[in-house]
Symmetry: C2
Subunit: 387 residues, 2 copies
């Protein structure tokens, strides 16, 4: 066990992309500093013990731990149980039966064979990158997959090759369309990464709902009221009661998370709804897979999550150094801009996560209760938690 394990300090789990506002609940949860290498070895071993290949297990561990490194704890090793349970119940097959169903010079249709979303997506994005390097732009639609972790991971894979990377996925139906009562859409994230000549790349990684379920869970844990643009009750009316939203949406009694923009059209909720639809079209519809309420449509059956990946070769348009310099100049301009009253700085997309990941190169802060949980999972699988 790494000595750092015992250097416990309080952290704020709200400290991710969505969370620099001042109304966040105070968080006194303790956490533990864990070796990235040790944690990766442990998570990989958990997956291989379930029949996942060494390579696929390593990719999955890397995607999960990268989320923790970037401060997106909701998508990190805290999710390990969902994946190991998925394999145990047969929703996720341990062996990745990745298969290209149709291929052209610029496109790829893939079935993930109900394997882990991470290795399926990693392989599809790798192919998209290779094709885009040759042919300037490439797209992949993937069906029969599972939750793939942070969308930004795959978009960022394109950065080192002078490409713009894009990734999107449909997801468990938690989001209510404008004027509807029931959750019929996923939180359907979109991620786009673009290189800059500055300190960090541009990485937009956003759910198309106002917030994710994890955010409601945090507020619920602290008994805090939620803003009325986050969720609706069982009648489909905006509510400030996080517990009610979570209870009703899981029991499929109605209500759920609201699209970016909130309820109705006055505050732009139909636009968030439209972006979620766009993701469904590029993932579930274009791949011939599951969409909307059909994703995770039956309990203990394949989830049929679908993804979309794209890459654009910048030099098909302008020299790479001109692109990266212009984007860095834009970021500088935004950083140097006058701030709104009450604020002394602003951020560009991916900036907070980039800083956090830089601080957490070799060690990552994990909530104590997550450490206990994954230790317990390891024990059940005969894997020692030696991180």
């Amino acid at each position: 066990m790494d000595g750092d394990r015992f250097e416990t300090r309080p952290t704020n789990p709200m400290n991710s992309t969505n969370s620099t506002n001042s109304t966040n609940p105070t968080n006194s949860m303790n956490s533990t500093k864990v070796s990235v290498q040790g944690l990766a070895r442990f998570v990989t071993a958990c997956f291989t013990s379930l029949g996942v290949s060494e390579e696929d297990a390593r990719i999955t561990a890397d995607v999960l731990i990268e989320a923790d490194r970037r401060g997106i704890a909701s998508h990190g090793v805290a999710r390990l149980k969902r994946y190991t349970d998925g394999i145990a119940t047969g929703v996720i097959l341990p062996e990745t039966r990745y298969k290209v169903l149709r291929e052209t010079a610029n496109t790829l249709l893939v079935t993930g064979g109900n394997g882990l979303g991470q290795p399926v997506s990693h392989r599809a994005m790798r192919s998209v990158i290779d094709k885009a390097k040759e042919k300037d732009v490439a797209l992949a639609a993937v069906r029969d997959s599972n939750h793939y972790g942070i969308a930004g991971y795959y978009a960022m894979m394109a950065l080192t090759d002078g490409l713009i990377g894009l990734s999107a996925s449909n997801a468990f139906p938690l989001v209510v369309p404008t004027f509807s009562k029931d959750a019929l859409l996923g939180t359907n994230p979109i991620a786009v990464a673009a290189p800059t000549s500055g300190a960090m790349p541009f990485v937009l990684d956003m759910a198309t709902s106002t917030v994710t379920r994890g955010k409601l869970e945090e507020y619920n844990r602290h008994g805090m009221p939620i803003p009325p643009v986050w969720g609706t009750d069982a009648h489909g009316s905006p509510t400030t009661d996080a517990a009610a939203v979570l209870k009703d949406v899981v029991a499929r009694r109605g209500g759920g998370l609201l699209p970016l923009g909130g309820a109705g059209e006055e505050t732009g909720g139909h636009k968030g709804f439209g972006l979620a639809m766009l993701v469904e079209i590029l993932t579930g519809i274009l791949s011939g897979g599951a969409f909307g309420p059909h994703v995770y449509g039956r309990p203990n059956a394949p989830a049929n999550v679908c993804h979309f990946f794209a890459a654009i070769r910048i030099e098909a348009f302008i020299p790479l150094d001109e692109f990266t310099a212009a984007l860095a100049a834009f970021v500088e301009l935004l950083h140097g801009s006058e701030k709104a009253k009450g604020y002394d700085r602003s951020y560009v997309h991916g900036e907070k996560e980039f800083q956090r990941a830089k601080e957490q190169q070799e060690h990552v802060q994990i909530a104590d209760k997550v450490v206990s949980e994954i230790e317990r999972i390891g024990k059940g699988l005969g894997v020692t938690a030696d991180f």
Copy 2:
């Protein structure tokens, strides 16, 4: 003059995409039923009288009138003055010096030569469609252009060829980045069109700000307070005073429209900001053109608006009829879904506009003051308003 000219009836100019909420100001503005053919002839003649070629004038007229047909009056012939003024002041060149700067099998870099945005965009999208039909996916980045009208027009051009169409543009800086004081981004629309086997296609056409300037102008005209997620005052603080936002942003004293999601991060404003950045990256940065505050950066100089166009051949992935049937089934499912309390129907994207355009095939309702204005413009150019 068409006899229908005198069949005046009141219409509600708020009756476009953003506006089925109940808090809209009542509008008593009168309007006139005008022949589409006559109006097209008139607008075309206005442009040719200024030195625009017959073909380019016809395209520009078609894009403007299509907006009116679809009920998006803010982007219709009400804008004629901005274009004719643009040509008169030399901001827009009448001759379209469209030039392909770089081309591959799948991509296109274009300069619009500071011509009218509509013929430049029409030509670029046409090339993208031709390439996508051959090579499954194609992209164009366009620089040195001007306002191109409704983004959805170009996305919809792809529909008849079994393609998904996409269009985006940067624009006059009216939108404030999260935590910033000044407007440094355009309303940067994104449009995506996808075919269905149902009655109408899916057409998402949205500004990445919560609302457009036209919406604030409407509320201002009626002395109505605006929701606090629409705009900020000169200090960068959310306000309900439409007049103040409009006055300060135009005088560049600070404040402006808010990104989709509103101010700060709690309600998701950083996501709307991110989408606006994504548009700047695909348009101004990727084309080597102007971005953010540099668009319309100097008075009476070229606006340097930039666009992005894309098309995806559906059959590179799955048979077209499977795609259109699945998307139609999804739309049916949404239409048939239980509604939120207080609502009896819901809409998918492009539905209201499709209905309105169907009602306005041959005649289109134009506000009386717009009719007077364009008649006045025609008179100045020696063009008779015989619509």
